[in-house]
């Protein structure tokens, strides 16, 4: 492999200093003279008809400038997946969950807006509500959306191979039921939006969004104005984890009120609203049947998955589809029957969250694999290694896996947790466990999700990079800049990046599905190469050599085989300028994954992603049998991320993701009572603090993917698929109790120990 100067280095995040000094501006940190502040009135009922909304008294509150209800907005439905649009920015006919948006006001102060909200009079006609997905599927259940009479808004039934035959050929068949809980992403920055409108009627929106270009489209649609009349700018975003993919009422209302009043308008959600009225990880009920040969060969699996979607779809069809196809990784599984349902209930809405449908089913599979391993007397690690998927193997769903380090991740995680020394050998109350997973590196379907980049080489040798990629704290801007610096043979300090402004930067789908590094990284690499080639052409002419024999490194351009023959980048730029070539030196790149049979998977099989990452999590836990409290002592996260463009940032991704997964395993749960979230605050919800954090070892397994920029693939999202089962498997090793529902709270532990 070539020696790399910038890629593969532990470079400091480009904007870290801004964040460390308070200079970094998030949406709520921005303000304009004369700005109005907005608040949203939310439904106190889980299910009700809106008969009448009276805004009169609200409008009379001093300082209030405008107020609207669902009946004042364009009747344009919104949905992040176009085929599953099912909501309006503000509810029009009825509300479907506690926290659903009913009306909104803007005022000269937040206090006035809050007061006005209290003075809006709404006449509701309460409707019967349903809170359990199984009840919602029964005939006669309350119906949330009239066009979905059984409340099943998305479903999938897919068979791969011949499942009945495979079960009959199995030596052993196991069947278990698992349940996972709703988890809130809890980004530290609450959702916010700020809009201004210019005299031409163009709306500019600053938003805490992961996907500026999709937001532009969805905003234009819901406002019923042309896309060219909307500009979305992403300032610093305080984490997202999938929750900032959707358009929210705050985006629409900021823009709509700005259009109506001509004033700048800001909406910022309260923490409680983030819990009740944004998105959460879908709770799932999972029935899993697995057939296996005596030697541990995995023959068949059958799933029935019911996902509680809450009141609206968000990503429903994609979520349930991903859950299906990613059963067939990271293990070789030729026979799969997957039945999955996304069901409406009168509860908070499910959406994409770090892993998107897969963590739930992975919890079931990885927990059951350990149960089977024990019954069959096979080491759980050996069982996984035996069935581990390999690069180039045919995938039943036609995923094309060109690089796969899964077995390596298993071995390294096991070494890291001292599997051989500890598994089954620790004293009662302590144990180790592990679990594996796989995740896509972006989505390779549909041309509108291609990513673009522009690289300009300036007269003084500085490089300007324009990318649409949305950095939400993961360090995308740093990683993409490293890629450009490497390709151009300059240093990271030479790069100036402007990102995620729909009017300035090229199209990019945004931050979801773990595609940013691969997709935007490839686009930026192509743009850098295009700019470099222009420069090489001029240099080659001057040096009377072939441009293909040139190389750029360390701010020099020189002959590959005679490094002393060459010149500095600055000289090269001068030569370019004096050769009467058109200035400025600009390279453009546009990356659309060249996948064979690209697909959304929603209608047909095919290669969903340009690359797939693989990972294993291993855990060591200690259970206090007096209190039932579980302490995670150590986690090992081994991850095949292709090549780590920035190992420090990859580690950060793995560590954060592992701790989030630990939260799902042990603490976090959005608890509802008749549809009402009873713990909508950090005080009651249970995000891990520094006190709970174990020692974490991150191991990067490098496989150098042929499609990734410099071989890079996903990191950080797939990492959250397996911590929960790894921890649950470790708990079993510690106390001999098997938990099939999450989170594993001290109450559950004590109850199980008592029953034992």
């Amino acid at each position: 492999m070539d020696k790399l100067n910038v890629v593969g280095k532990r470079e400091v995040m480009l904007d870290a200093w801004e964040k460390a000094t308070g200079q970094a501006r998030f949406t709520d940190d921005l303000s304009f003279p004369g700005m109005l502040f907005g608040k949203i009135l939310r439904s106190p009922y889980a299910h009700a008809k809106i008969l009448q909304v009276d805004l009169t008294q609200a409008l009379n509150v001093p300082g209030v400038k405008d107020a609207i209800t669902g009946r004042d907005i364009p009747k344009k439905m919104y949905g992040i997946v176009p085929m599953a649009k099912d909501e309006y920015a503000l509810a029009i006919e009825k509300v479907r969950y506690i926290g659903d948006e009913v009306a909104a006001v803007v005022a000269t102060s937040v206090e006035a807006a809050e007061e006005a909200i209290l003075k809006i009079r709404v006449d509701y006609e309460e409707l019967p509500a349903v809170f359990d997905p199984f009840e919602a599927m029964r005939p006669g259940a309350p119906i949330l959306h009239s066009n979905v009479p059984n409340n099943v808004s998305a479903s999938i039934r897919k068979e791969f191979g011949n499942v009945a035959r495979a079960f009959s050929e199995s030596d052993v068949v196991y069947e278990d039921t698992f349940e996972t809980q709703p988890v809130n992403h809890s980004p530290l920055e609450p959702q916010a939006a700020l809009a201004i409108v210019d005299l031409s009627g163009k709306v500019t929106l600053w938003s805490s969004t992961q996907i500026p270009f999709f937001l532009r489209r969805n905003l234009a649609t819901t406002l019923d104005i042309p896309e060219s009349k909307v500009r979305v700018i992403k300032p610093k975003v305080g984490g997202g984890f999938g929750q900032k993919i959707d358009l929210y009422a705050k985006d629409f209302c900021a823009a709509f009120f700005a259009m109506r009043t001509g004033k700048p308008v800001k909406f910022v959600y309260e923490r409680e609203e983030v819990f009740t009225s944004t998105r959460q990880r879908h709770p799932m009920h999972i029935q899993l049947k697995t057939g296996m040969k005596k030697d541990g060969t995995l023959l068949a699996q059958q799933f029935k998955v019911v996902a509680d979607g809450g009141a609206y779809n968000s990503t429903a069809p994609l979520m349930i589809t991903l859950a299906c196809y990613f059963i067939m990784l990271p293990y070789r599984l030729e026979n799969l029957l997957f039945e999955g349902y996304h069901v409406y209930t009168n509860k908070p809405v499910g959406g994409a969250m770090r892993g998107h449908g897969i963590p739930q089913v992975r919890f079931a599979v990885e927990t059951q694999l350990d149960m089977i391993a024990e019954k069959m007397g096979i080491d759980p690690l050996e069982l996984r290694l035996k069935n581990a998927f390999l690069a180039g193997e045919p995938h039943p769903g036609k995923l094309l896996v060109q690089s796969c380090g899964f077995s390596d991740t298993l071995v390294k995680a096991a070494e890291g947790i001292e599997w051989k020394e500890k598994r089954g050998k620790l004293p009662f109350g302590r144990g180790v466990g592990l679990a594996g997973a796989s995740f896509p590196s972006g989505v390779s379907n549909m041309s509108h999700i291609s990513s673009g980049a522009i690289v300009k080489i300036e007269r003084d040798g500085a490089v300007t990079l324009l990318t649409g990629a949305a950095d939400i704290g993961q360090g995308a801007e740093t990683v993409i800049s490293q890629i450009v610096a490497e390709e151009l043979g300059v240093t990271l300090e030479d790069i100036r990046i402007t990102a995620a402004d729909t009017e300035i930067t090229p199209l990019d789908p945004g931050t979801f599905g773990s595609g940013v590094t691969l997709r935007a990284g490839n686009a930026a690499k192509m743009a850098a190469l295009a700019a470099k080639e222009k420069l090489f052409e001029a240099v080659a002419e001057k040096m009377e050599v072939h441009s293909k024999d040139l190389e750029a490194k360390n701010r020099r351009i020189y002959m590959k085989d005679q490094p002393e023959k060459g010149m500095s980048l600055i000289e090269a730029i001068k030569i370019y300028q004096y050769s009467d070539r058109p200035m400025p030196i600009i390279g453009r790149g546009s990356y659309l994954p060249p996948a064979k049979e690209p697909t959304t998977l929603l209608k047909e099989d095919g290669n969903f992603s340009p690359a797939y990452s693989f990972m294993t999590q291993a855990a060591e836990v200690e259970v206090d049998t007096q209190t039932g409290k579980i302490k995670v002592l150590k986690m090992v996260a081994s991850h095949d991320c292709g090549r780590a463009i920035n190992p420090m940032l990859v580690e950060g991704q793995l560590e954060g993701s592992v701790v989030g997964g630990m939260g799902q395993a042990l603490y976090e749960d959005v608890i509802t009572d008749k549809g009402e979230v009873v713990n909508p605050s950090f005080l009651d919800y249970g995000i891990p603090t520094a006190m709970e954090v174990p020692s974490i070892v991150s191991i990067e397994v490098e496989t150098n993917d042929p499609e990734g920029p410099f071989g890079a693939k996903e990191s950080g999202e797939g990492t959250q698929l397996a911590p929960a089962p790894a921890i649950v498997n470790a708990i079993y090793d510690a106390i001999g109790v098997r938990f099939k529902t999450l989170p594993v709270t001290p109450e559950k532990v004590l109850e199980a120990l008592w029953k034992k």
Partner: protein, 154 residues
Amino acid sequence: MKHILKLHVNGEDFEIFTEMNKTLLEVLREDLGFTGTKRGCDLGACGACTVLIDGKPYLSCLTLAIAVQGKKIVTIEGLAREGKLHPLQKAFIEKGAIQCGFCTPGMILTAKAFLDEHPYPSEEETKRAISGNICRCTGYVKIVEAILSVNENQ
């Protein structure tokens, strides 16, 4: 009802004509423009709004501005001296302890107050000291590393 509020922030005296029921967080962000102090929950549960008052960490979302007149308030904007980053800021940057950066100001200020009192803490003490500051991105690993590194080589 508006009154004159006198605050000493980041080494400067400010006179602010504002409502008396405002929290310190509101005054810092809205009246003085010190937006480095973050509002994460407004309930004292996340630590993002932490500032130093006479050297001790306080949750500015639970502190009335009027109650801290005459005291020395330091926000993240006031930590760097004469263009030189505080060693904690440097450590956070270099160790990769910052991802989205929303918890960072509160985290750094909490750590500053802690290190001022415990210059050579253990890992466990450090974790306890920052346990009121939530971070959803980093898993705290590099944050703890950064804090521990500050006095390591002295």
